[in-house]
Amino acid sequence: YFGGWTAFRASVWMLGVVFELDRSRQVQADLAVAEERLRFARDLHDILGRNLSVIAVKSELAAALARRGRDESADEMMAVRDIAQESLREVRDVVRGYREVDLATELSGARSVLRSAGVATRVVGEVSPLPPDVQAVLGWVAREGTTNVLRHSSASTCVITVARDDGCVTLTMVNDGVRSASGESAGSGLSGLAERLGELGGSLTAERLDGDRFRLAARVPS
């Protein structure tokens, strides 16, 4: 059995492990997001592939018609131009999407991370098109909220709600399994979020509810 020294060493080691586990959850969240984006990229490749096939076949046809002096060749070429422009728009949209936080992607990433950690998770409400800055800040709320659920609770359920009412969007996360106050000093995750929300005229509340539950709610004008 463990002697005192061994126990001490073991618990120091465990501390390190717990620290690594936290990091690993963050990595898991990042992976979920990256995979979501790859799915996106693959869909884009499918669409582009199809459009490029049309362009290849139609431009060959246009050339063949032109060589035969047929008038339809100009129409075929203009059709090719339209398809190229349409495809270009799609590429631009997606590339922009890489640089921006997309709330729907973040939410589905959050859900899949929590589920893979054994937390039954539902995402309720719909993300109607929101301005990029609002999506970005709520995306950060979803990430930090998810990390907190993993770090500070033994949650078995989590409900994430997105709702709109009189000029505001709210994102709420409620989980159970709150651990009794650990006494460790709180970090800066939530205060950072409150600051970001404040910049957009929004606000954050975080509170303990009855029945070992925790609620995080972000509100931002939109």
């Binding site: 096939s53 049309v54 076949v57 059709a79």
Partner: protein, 144 residues
């Protein structure tokens, strides 16, 4: 004259391909369909010598349609065309009785040549496509 059936749900590709192939003196497009489950009935009416069949189509996928077509109208040879090869496509196409497997964007000359070769009983396999489609098993990217 080699009589052709074109099956592709992308109307723009199908239309342009039909127009292009019709410019060849020895090729004639006798039927066009946009769904996999319309291939066989159209073929039984039009009696093509060669069918160009797209893989991804509504109703029935082109490879499954090929298998039925080969059974119902064995005189008709099948050239499978696609934009992307996916793992397993080549094996399934060959198993279904297809004689050829090429990309849709092949230059018209090459496509016409592939049709003639398939018509004369030769096998045509686009090497780049084969490389994409050879691997066994599902794509590593999440399937739909």
């Amino acid at each position: 004259m080699i009589r052709l059936l074109l099956a592709d749900d992308q109307a723009l590709v199908r239309g342009a391909m039909a127009a292009l192939l019709s410019l060849e003196p020895d090729l004639e497009v006798v039927a066009e369909v946009a769904r996999g489950d319309e291939v066989v009935s159209a073929a039984l009416v039009a009696r093509p010598d060669v069918a160009l069949v797209d893989v991804e189509m509504p109703g029935l996928d082109g490879i499954a349609a090929t298998a039925v077509l080969r059974e119902q109208l064995p005189s008709c040879r099948v050239l499978v065309v696609t934009t992307f090869g996916r793992p397993g496509y080549l094996r399934r196409a060959i198993e279904a009785g297809a004689c050829g497997f090429v990309v849709k964007d092949s230059p018209a000359e090459q496509l016409a040549d592939a049709i003639r070769r398939v018509h004369s009983g030769l096998r045509v396999v686009d090497p780049a496509l084969a490389v994409e489609s050879l691997a066994a098993g599902p794509s590593p990217l999440t399937p739909r």
